[in-house]
């Protein structure tokens, strides 16, 4: 008899931080000390979170493995489970299964210049990769981060984002679709930031995560800037339930997004029917 892959492991909420309207970051630790020590994950992976009595939802891990002893999940209140999660307080227990999915190709990106493009809550999984890269800064070349949201009120992790911009050989550019009275920066969709950056296409990899509508336009900009198809990395979103390639919901053509993805290169996505 094998271990049950579907059993949620208990985690206690250590901290809850309101990132923006309807978006919270939860810091979690495993209840089981053995698991607390042994749990490993890579940037780009996700877990299935159980809110007992309500259900399960797939959430990408936003902390990076460089930070030991806890994980962070950034959750938008969009459905039954995430709404219930937003009601949870410090000290309460939730369930977690994972990590699932493939990860960002961390090692393959060594020595390269990285262009991060994050739209809205898409920054959450990117943050995991970005922080891991900054923890091993010498392995990577120039890091450029383009971050856009609908409104200033929706910007996430701003204190960290600003810190990233101050790192050596690193640049951060923000934009919002619609400004408010306080906003001093760029106004416009994220593609408008592309005019403000230049990079060596041969050395550069783009890592793009955002709402479905964003991909088409951002990929077009990357291609305009001469990035090769296999230098453009995306994370696709599908309805996910089991996380282990059995329930069938996340199928994109013949592959399971939860196992062969959610991270893909554009070269893969191009030939994958139904992908984008």
């Amino acid at each position: 008899m094998t271990d049950n892959i579907y059993t949620p492991h208990l985690m206690t909420i250590k901290k809850v931080r309101e990132e923006a309207e309807g978006i919270k970051t939860f810091t979690l630790e495993f209840n089981e000390p053995k698991l607390q020590k042994s749990f490993e994950y890579k940037p780009g992976q996700f877990g299935e979170v159980t809110i007992f009595g309500v259900g399960e939802a797939p959430i990408s891990i936003t902390s990076s493995p460089a930070n030991k002893g806890y994980i962070e999940l950034c959750v938008a209140k969009v459905g039954k489970v995430t709404q219930a999660m937003h009601q949870k307080r410090e000290g309460e227990v939730i369930g977690f299964r994972g990590p699932y999915g493939n990860a960002f190709p961390f090692n393959e990106l060594a020595g390269k210049d990285i262009l991060f493009v994050g739209g809205g809550i898409g920054l959450a999984p990117l943050r995991s990769l970005i922080n891991q890269m900054f923890a091993e800064r010498e392995k990577f070349g120039k890091i450029t981060i383009l971050y856009g949201c609908q409104t200033p009120k929706r910007l996430l992790f701003m204190d960290e984002v600003e810190r990233w911009g101050k790192q050596p050989n690193s640049q951060v550019l923000f934009t919002v679709d619609r400004a408010d009275d306080t906003w001093q920066g760029n106004v416009g969709v994220i593609t408008t930031l592309f005019t403000q950056v230049s990079f060596d296409a041969a050395k550069t990899y783009a890592v793009v995560v955002g709402p479905p509508i964003m991909y088409r336009f951002v990929i077009a900009e990357c291609i305009k800037k001469r990035l090769a198809d296999d230098h453009i990395i995306v994370s696709l979103e599908r309805r996910m339930e089991c996380g282990v390639g059995k329930c069938g919901h996340c199928q994109i053509s013949g592959i399971y997004c939860c196992m062969d993805g959610p991270v893909f290169t554009y070269a893969q996505v191009k030939s994958l029917k139904e992908a984008v």
Binding site: Y6, E241, G248, S253, K273, E274
Partner: protein
């Protein structure tokens, strides 16, 4: 072990002999319907044509299944109880198409991440197949290489020779099952085996209007944008039946059902990729049109499954999806259109 022979009259006694240690599921007839019934509750019908509408995948992968119970006594302490079904079962009379179906499900549920619920049931089930001496009403298994005779995927396989069965033992589990009743069997002669061979050839020959599965497998990708998907799906009523009765369909939905303030159970249910909600997310539906869903089902059976699982076709040719469709959407008809172009 040798290939054995069993007089037909002795089968009923053999089945009863397993009843002490196993739940024995046999073909039975209920209100004129062929079903699998428990030997204790139903009179077995050992001479029958065709197959039941619902495939025996139900015994390994039930329609509605309790996986866990969660006891949230308070918000900081959660008790988790797992519900595995270790009932020992014998299923007799499984047709080759369904044996193939179970094999496909084994590949999906038991590889990479092992599904503990399927595993528990599967490991405790002995599969006893019965070859088809003639095509059934809707079947086209011979064009899917999954019938009318099985060539594997069984613990024990019976072939109706007339007054006897030819009995092939396929696994150690099968061997163990007959070990206590060996005296009921004789050794099969060469003539017996030849007879079985002839019956298979005759059965194979009797199929009419077989769809060209192999051609379809090759050519389908060219038909991705074809208008046929819209035309063939125009009447679909989104009943999900085609997926529910398919021996290889395995999609399921997980729901946590609250029983009271404290206890909730995690249930899993059969799901259908033909339903709109199957791909629904908060922001969008990644397969919103019926033609896309029909295309997904056909491609999954004929193109993706072979790609994922070493050429094994995802369709076993049992014809149930045709039988169960209220508006007569017919996979063989769709495949026929692939040939024509």
């Amino acid at each position: 072990m040798n290939i054995l022979k069993l007089e037909k009259s002795k089968l009923s006694g053999l089945l009863k002999s397993w009843n002490d240690d196993f739940e024995v599921m046999v073909p039975a007839v209920e209100n004129g319907n062929l079903v699998f019934g428990n030997l204790g509750d139903y009179e077995p019908v050992l001479d029958f044509n065709g197959r039941p509408l619902l495939p025996p995948k139900e015994f390994m992968f039930p329609q509605i299944e309790k996986t866990f119970s969660f006891n949230a006594a308070d918000n900081t302490k959660i008790g988790i109880e797992t519900h595995l079904d270790n009932t020992k079962r014998v299923i007799w009379g499984i047709r080759p198409c369904d044996l193939k179906g179970i094999k496909t499900l084994d590949t999906i549920f038991l590889s990479k991440y092992v599904d503990a619920y399927y595993e528990a049931r599967r490991n405790n089930t002995i599969l006893m197949g019965l070859n088809c001496n003639e095509p059934c009403n809707y079947g086209f298994c011979s064009s899917c290489q999954s019938g009318p005779f099985a060539n594997g995927d069984f613990d024990i396989l019976f072939t109706d020779l007339g007054s006897d069965y030819l009995v092939n033992i396929g696994t150690k589990q099968g061997e163990k099952a007959v070990s206590k009743s060996l005296k009921l069997f004789k050794t099969a002669t060469d003539a017996d085996q030849k007879k079985a061979s002839d019956i298979e050839a005759a059965s194979r020959k009797a199929f009419k209007n077989l769809p060209a599965m192999a051609t379809a497998q090759q050519r389908l990708p060219q038909y991705w944008d074809d208008v046929l998907w819209k035309q063939e799906s125009v009447n679909c009523i989104l009943c999900g039946g085609c997926n529910f009765v398919c021996p290889t369909c395995h999609c399921f939905n997980i729901e946590d059902v609250a029983c009271d303030k404290q206890i909730s159970t995690r249930m899993r249910y059969w799901d259908s990729c033909q339903l709109g909600g199957f791909t629904q997310m908060a922001a969008e539906n990644t397969r919103p049109l019926q033609e896309e869903r029909l295309r997904q089902r056909i491609f999954h059976k004929i193109v993706y499954t072979p790609d994922l699982y070493d050429g094994a076709l995802g369709c076993t040719g049992c014809g149930r999806c045709i039988e169960v469709c209220p508006v007569e959407i017919d996979i063989t008809h769709i495949i026929g259109r692939i040939k024509v172009k």
